[in-house]
Structures are given as C-alpha cells and as structure tokens.
Amino acid sequence: MDTRRYTGFGLHIDSDLPLPDLPRRPAGRRPDVVIRRGRVRPPSASARRLPRGLWADGDRIGVDVPDVGRYACERGALITVDAARGARPDAVRLFLLGSALGILLAQRGHLVLHGNAFVVGDACAVVLGRSGAGKSTLAAEMHRRGHVVLSDDVVPVDARGRALPGWPRIKLWQDALDRLGIPLSGLDRVGPGFDKFHVPLERSADPSPMQVRWLYVLDRHDGPLRVVPITGAAAFTSLHEHTYRNEILVGELRRTHLARSADLVRAARLARVDRPRGVDSVAASADAILADIRADDRPGREEELHATSRPAPAVGA
C-alpha cells in the first residue's frame, strides 16, 4: 500500500490513508507517527471501558465507533485503523484526525485542550469552551483581524507550555459562515451529513510552537459581557473540563495531566468570558479578549515566565 507523508502538530506522520487536510512533506526523516490500516485486536478482558466507546488496555488506548471502525493508539507513535465494512472514507478520517490523534497526542505527554489558539505578539492565547460555545467563530474573527490561528479544535500544549500548530483550517457551521460572510462554494464538509465545513486559512509560513500566555473559557450568563479570572482549584477543574477526550485520563496520563495543568496555571492567565445570553456578538467577545490581553501584557511578565517554566515537582506517591 502507498505510504503518504504529512506533517501536523510538529510531527512527521506517515499514513496508509490519504489525509487531504494535512500538509504533505518530502521523503527523508523517519516518521514520528505511523498511521496504518490493519486489524485491531479487541480490548482484552482486563481493559478499562471508558465512556464514548473509548477504552484503555495496557499500552493501548482506543476507540470503537459503530459503523465506522476501531482505532488503537500505542506509545504515542502508532495508530492502527480497523475500518468497518462499508464505512465512508471521510467518516473514517473524521475519527482518525479527531479522537485517535487526540489520544496519541496525550500519549506523547501533551496537555490536549479542546479549543483553538491564535498568536498575539511572541506568544499565543487559547480559547476554550463547550461544543457550540462559538470557539471556531471567534478564531475566524481573530484570523480576520490579522492574528495567525495556530490550530482549531485541538490544541496540544507541550511540556514547555507551548501550543503546537495544527493545520491551516477552521471548522465552521453554516450559520457561522453566513454571519462572517464567508461563501460556501468550494468548502469541504467536515463529515457526511454535517452542515459544518472546513475553511482554509492562508498562513504565510508554518508557525512555530508558541508559549501559551492566556486562556479564555467562553461561557454565558445573565448579565453584561465580562472577563473574570479563574484561579486555585477552579483553574484545574476548568482545564480538565476543556481537555480533549478527558475520559482517557486514567493511570499515568492523570499524573501527567496534573503536572502540565500546574505548569500552565503558573505561566498563563486563565479567565472566563461571560457573554450575555441570547445576544451573540463575536466582535464584542473578540474586543473583550484583546483588551484583557493588553491589560495583562505588562513589563516584567517575561521574567516571571522563565522563572516558572520548570516542570512542577509532583508530590504524593
């Protein structure tokens, strides 16, 4: 079978399956990650069954998707895709680049956040929120205002507190496209039967990993737009809630997640953006976030960042 070479999240990925979303790369260096088609052994009797078809079985973490297939991720280096008979290739790809790649990135020791990241100066801000909170619409707005969007949907944060760049596209629902005035023609659907589309972003060059300095959780409340800092144990709860596929955080991954969360809470500002219910002004939310960043972007911050970028010593055990 043909192997195709891609890049994404700073990784060299060799894949048996064509992945048109990902930038290609020339032959050369050995791959960091291999994606292959093949039979996936069912999870053993001792495997932990997790919600959403996820399971953890020793070194393997996988996901079973009815009518699409079974995926297994091992050692952060190998994804095996066992597609169901008759499964549509775009559906197989959707779960491969979603759940399976998210699991793999967690296995590689990253804190995998569910949101998107955009560049501000020499650092980046991450926007988090539940599905439908308007994360991608906000990313499109930041892109329109000239901020480079590092990645959409999945933001892996490495051990040095840097967000790794994904591929240059944003997933938007049709109503968001209409609101932002982006024409539908020529856009690919995210998956079969979805009114959600991939919007390609022009980026002049491949961005490098960027230090995360601000994190914003999109929320709603009965009242005017406001930005409220989140600190203490609540900061950890928030990061956990917005961790991509947080159901897989069992065993050693839990410990890594806590250490990474602590690093991030020390080095970055975390705040909640409470937006008035019913009203949806993406421009006002973008204004509030950028104003908060400017207010926080004070001199002396750089030193603080360096002083706290060491990995946290874990106590306990």
Binding site: G232, R254, L258, A262, R266, P313, G316
Partner: protein
C-alpha cells in the same frame, strides 16, 4: 468508616496526585475532574501526612508551627482528617 481520633496512624493515599502551587496544594480527587486546594494549616497538615502520623502527633506539629496549644487545635485537626478520610485522600497506615 474509621474515625480520625482512633489510636491509629494515617498517611496520604499514595495513588493520589497533588502539586504545590505557591502557598497551596492542589489535589486531584478520585473522580475525574475533581480537584481540591488546601492552604495554611491544612496545607501543612497535608505536608506532614507524607509520613504516617497519629492525630496527637499532627496536633503537636501544628501547635508547634502556629504557636498554640495542641488541645486548642485538636478538634479542627480531627475535622480536617475526617474530611480527608471521607474523600479517601488519606488512609490507615499499616
């Protein structure tokens, strides 16, 4: 459930993960997404519980640190230990 004031030594559950954040400790509970932060006297009790300790011993340590009598803080220390026990964050040392 065991009671904190039994003649028994208590120790942190070794499976529990915690990180030190400046003045406070943030601990991950047993359930997904559950976190607790402790500071002040509670944080120093938590620090002492790295080793198996009896209630009387914990009271003596806190009394020394905060310059009060062990009798005065006994009820508070016992209450905190009960909380940790109910959340299964400490357990009886063998």
């Amino acid at each position: 459930m065991r009671r904190a004031d039994q003649p028994q030594r208590w120790v942190r559950d070794p499976a529990l993960h915690a990180v030190e954040m400046g003045e406070e400790f943030v601990m991950m509970g047993l359930d997904q997404g559950e976190y607790y932060a402790v500071k002040g006297v509670a944080a120093s009790l938590w620090r002492h519980l790295a080793e198996p300790r009896e209630l009387a011993e914990l009271c003596a340590l806190v009394a020394e640190e905060y310059d009060i009598t062990a009798e005065r803080c006994r009820d508070d220390v016992a209450a905190f230990l009960e909380q940790l026990l109910s959340k299964r964050m400490v357990r009886a040392a063998s």
